[in-house]
């Protein structure tokens, strides 16, 4: 019954959307997908997987497919703040022509500095034009932390020397929905790590409009496209966790769905990179995996269209979708509970804050994991 109501609600939302004028009459997503050699069956298969990812019942698959086809109704503005362009690259270089990336390629990108042909005054005009023409209708995606307040001058764009913060504020004010793409615009990111010399901050701190965070360094293309589809389907904010991350993507701990979880449970750990355990795919906890403290779907979705993910490549998770992970996750190749070196804050910071991290369930887990690892050490001594 509950599902029926939701189904009807989403259907009517999509009907409304389909009455909106297309931004470009000549482009149709479904036609395009066909042109690129994907059959209807493959497209529906993709929609099915996306439906599952969005934690919707399988019967909603046709709706997700329709939502994908509606993507050409949404103008998109993508702003670059203090960033490395990795998030843009995540989409652009996503694996073999996938349906995710196709949709993104053909969505109406009104402003994107990395790929747009215009430059200088003409580029500025494109942005102003998009904001005016699609006022209240466009989706804003922002990549990068934002130098803020009295240090906003660390980023200026354009001949008028407008600061990044000002641009982000203006674009946010008129957007239909705002997504912070990547850990930098979600939480400040690497430039906001101690001592945060540019006073970089999250997008949510420079606008009073609601911001959906899609963190990761960079987030996978499926998390970006999934967030977009979710908005198309619902027209509202998804269920969010305490850090404003969509629960459908960031609801599960990496550790819980990890392919090496069985090794952890069996107490089989890699002790050193390249050892016999590493060759056999043992658990990476003791060489620093932060999967137990990190909420994301990497272990299920992987990257580059399922090619791999860090744990598969023998390297632990670094916790990149958690706020302030650079300061709070300790040493990358050591367990969080086993820090030998002082890191930041004069030796108090990381160590001190790490103990406070995730007050509650995470701390309990950390203790549990450390204990588990300690016991297994007794059981399986180093050779």
């Amino acid at each position: 019954m509950k599902n029926n109501n939701l189904f009807n609600k989403l259907s009517s939302r999509l009907d409304e959307l389909s009455n909106l004028p297309k931004l470009d009459d000549e482009v149709s997503i479904s036609k395009l997908i066909e042109e690129k050699g994907f059959s209807r069956r493959e497209f529906m298969g993709w929609a099915g997987a996306m439906t599952a990812m969005l934690t919707l019942p399988a019967s909603f698959t046709p709706l997700v497919a329709k939502a994908a086809e509606m993507a050409d109704r949404l103008p998109l503005v993508w702003l670059h703040m203090a960033e490395c362009t990795g998030c843009s690259e995540s989409l652009l270089r996503s694996a073999t022509p996938s349906i995710d990336s196709l949709i993104f390629d053909y969505i109406s990108l009104e402003y994107h500095e990395t790929i747009m042909a215009a430059a200088g005054w003409q580029a500025e005009q494109n942005l102003e034009h998009a904001i005016q023409k699609y006022k209240g209708r466009y989706i804003l995606m922002v990549e990068g932390g934002i130098p803020h307040g009295e240090s906003d001058y660390f980023l200026t764009v354009g001949a008028h020397g407008k600061t990044g913060e000002q641009s982000a504020k203006e674009a946010s004010a008129n957007a239909a929905a705002i997504f912070a793409i990547g850990t930098c615009s979600s939480f400040g990111g690497v430039q906001a790590a101690y001592p945060n010399p540019t006073n970089a901050t999250a997008l949510s701190n420079v606008t009073d409009r609601p911001v959906i965070n899609v963190p990761g360094c960079p987030p996978s293309e499926s998390n970006i496209v999934g967030t977009l589809l979710h908005f198309i389907l619902y027209g509202t904010l998804p269920a969010l966790d305490v850090y404003n991350r969509p629960k459908w993507a960031y609801g599960l701990r990496i550790h819980d769905a990890c392919e090496r979880r069985g090794r952890f449970d069996a107490g089989e750990f890699v002790e050193q990179f390249g050892d016999e355990g590493a060759k056999d795919g043992y658990c990476l906890y003791k060489v620093g995996c932060k999967g137990p403290y990190t909420f994301n779907n990497c272990s299920k979705q992987k990257f580059n269209q399922g090619t791999s993910w860090p744990v598969q490549a023998g390297h632990g998770c670094m916790g990149c979708s958690e706020p302030d992970f650079w300061d709070k996750m300790g040493i990358v190749h050591e367990p969080l509970g086993d820090r030998l070196y002082h890191t930041v804050f004069g030796g108090l910071g990381s160590d001190a804050t790490a103990d406070k991290i995730g007050v509650g369930i995470l701390t309990v887990t950390a203790v549990g994991i450390a204990a588990h690892a300690a016991i297994s050490l007794v059981k399986k001594p180093k050779e």
């Binding site: 990395t114 240090s151 001949a159 390249g274």
Partner: protein, 577 residues
């Protein structure tokens, strides 16, 4: 009367960059200034952290050359600690590097630089049958240029052209500009490759993810080696790499190479791309190990375009100064000892040429003072160009057999003299030649790895960091945008000082105390601009360097009240760039 023209933002690059030129009535650039308008401060942030954390952090300097900083930073820590990594690890790092170079160069030429050469709207009037035939002139096995394929490409362009508002990312560009030289048919061929490259590059990204776990920002290096031992021991995984490698190698040989040969033919008479470059000093560093003592790139320095003599690099002679950068300490300093006391002075008000040709009030560079977050690196006090062209010239002049073959074949095929390489066109061609050098030879590393794995499965060396010892070391080599070096000092087991001297800093830096210009600025002087409201010539030159500005400025420090507010210790302020 001379006028000022500002191009900001320069799009289709990584980062935030402004170019500002002073143009005479004859449209010729009299003076030029390049400024980076973003600072992030990663080297300041590195201080006091565990050295093992630094490579992943430095990787975040740039998501485009996503592997370069990760690798050189890891090498810097290894050099400091005196670690020799296993042979297998060297070769895997090369295979990941090959994926990076091939991805980067193809994406740069087609998606970032391509529309400076290719007029998309002109392709609309192409005869696809003629174009299909023409493609055979540039390669025996053309890609994506069958008549039917070209017809489809043309239809797509037609859609764009009919609805200018619907051009999306192609909107409002400089279509129809007088300096475009391709015929409609040639534009159509290149455009087809633009679309094809969009697909191919995704395959290349997977190539890196096979050993890297993901891309961008792979995560499989450790100080001492690599972590992806399971992938190496899995034949299916190795096979996967091989198949993808063959796809991209084919594209480089039959699309990228062919298009540059075509560009050489058509653009060799276009003055704005053949103008001799302003700085003719080149520096490159050995890299891309494909076997024991076998490298694709050589080390050395070429002065004043003289290919007959290659000087060895003396790393002590590398300095950076900040006369025109937003820092207080102006004098040249070596990266190990670099200090930075930032001093942001901003822009000044003034009139510049606006979008419709009328003068508008703008925020201008004050070139008499400081004007960029980028510093000015010098070698023995001289500016240097780094990048694929520098790498190819040095390797060629040093007689590296593999490089000599690639360069000589290209010169023979196009009939252009070696001197023509010292131009914007030459720089763009040099990047392709480097891609070809890798496409032709990276398999040597692959085969050596397979052979070695049969007898040796070491992938990661062990080491200890002694907290009572002080260490210093650097990771240096050529990455897709040129020579990159990371410099680290370790004390009490944590980072004492960290600096990176980045390719785009060498190329994009402002004037030095003697008024000598870096490569970007020097290259713009003397350039004739056809239409001040459409400065395509400027953008084409800047793009030919493949700017990566987040890289160039990640290390700046700041000062004044901000400094005290955010508690940066100016003694350790990172920053050499």
């Amino acid at each position: 009367m001379s006028k000022r023209v500002i191009v900001d933002p320069i799009t289709r690059i990584e980062g935030h960059l402004r170019a500002e030129v002073i143009v005479g009535d004859d449209g010729v650039v009299q003076d030029a200034f390049v400024s980076s308008t973003l600072w992030r401060g990663l080297e300041v942030i590195a201080k006091g952290r565990d050295p093992r954390n630094i490579p992943l952090m430095m990787q975040r300097i740039c998501g485009v050359c996503t592997y370069s900083h990760y690798l050189k930073s890891t090498m810097a820590v290894e050099d400091a600690l005196g670690i020799k990594i296993p042979y297998n690890a060297e070769l895997v790092r090369t295979l990941m590097n090959a994926a990076l170079f091939l991805h980067d160069h193809v994406v740069h030429f087609y998606h970032l630089h391509g529309v400076d050469w290719v007029d998309i709207v002109s392709a609309l009037s192409a005869d696809e049958a003629k174009a299909s035939k023409l493609a055979f002139k540039y390669t025996d096995n053309p890609i994506g240029t069958g008549e039917n394929e070209l017809k489809k490409v043309k239809e797509k362009v037609a859609k764009f052209a009919k609805n200018p508002q619907g051009l999306g990312p192609f909107a409002n560009a400089y279509w129809g500009h007088k300096t475009f030289r391709f015929t409609p048919e040639q534009n159509l061929i290149a455009l087809s490759h633009y679309l094809k490259a969009l697909e191919i590059q995704r395959t290349v990204a997977q190539m890196m993810a096979i050993f890297g776990g993901k891309n961008p920002h792979p995560q499989s290096l450790a100080v001492g080696g690599v972590t992806c031992v399971m992938d190496l021991l899995n034949p299916a995984r190795m096979g996967e790499y091989l198949v993808k490698y063959q796809t991209i190698a084919d594209f480089v040989n039959n699309a990228y190479y062919a298009d540059i040969v075509m560009a050489a033919e058509m653009y060799k008479t276009e003055p704005s791309v053949m103008k001799p470059m302003g700085v003719k000093n080149f520096m490159a560093h050995q890299d891309m190990m494909v076997g024991r003592n076998d490298y694709l790139f050589e080390s050395g320095i070429i002065m004043n375009g003289d290919l007959s003599k290659v000087f060895e690099i003396d790393e002590d002679m590398i300095t950076e100064e900040a006369t025109h950068s937003w820092y207080k300490d102006d004098a040249p300093q070596h990266p190990y000892d670099g200090t930075t006391n930032p001093n942001y002075t901003g822009f000044v008000d003034g009139d510049t040429v606006g979008p419709d040709g009328k003068m508008v009030n703008s925020k201008m560079i004050n070139e008499k003072e400081k004007y960029s977050w980028i510093k000015s690196p010098r070698y023995k006090g001289e500016p240097m160009e780094v990048g694929p062209l520098a790498c190819m010239l040095v390797s060629y002049a040093k007689g590296n057999k593999k490089a000599v073959k690639v360069v000589n074949d290209f010169l023979a095929k196009t009939g252009v003299p070696a001197a023509a390489l010292f131009s914007t066109l030459g720089r763009t061609a040099g990047r392709m030649l480097q891609a070809k050098l890798i496409a032709d030879n990276a398999l040597v590393a692959f085969n050596n790895l397979i052979e070695n794995l049969k007898v040796d499965q070491e992938t990661c060396a062990t080491y200890v960091i002694d907290k009572d010892k002080e260490y210093k070391g650097r990771g240096i080599g050529d990455v897709p945008r040129g020579m990159l070096s990371h410099w680290i000092r370790i004390k009490n087991g944590v980072v004492e000082n960290y600096q990176a001297v980045v390719p785009s800093t060498w190329n994009a830096g402002p004037m030095d105390s003697k008024g000598a210009k870096g490569p970007y600025e020097a290259d713009l002087i003397g350039l004739k601009i056809q239409d001040l409201t459409q400065p395509l010539e400027i953008i084409r030159i800047i793009h030919s360097y493949d700017p990566c500005i987040a890289c160039a400025v990640h290390v700046m420090d700041t000062k004044g009240k901000t400094l005290s507010e955010y508690k940066i210790d100016p003694l350790y302020g990172g920053c050499s760039i």
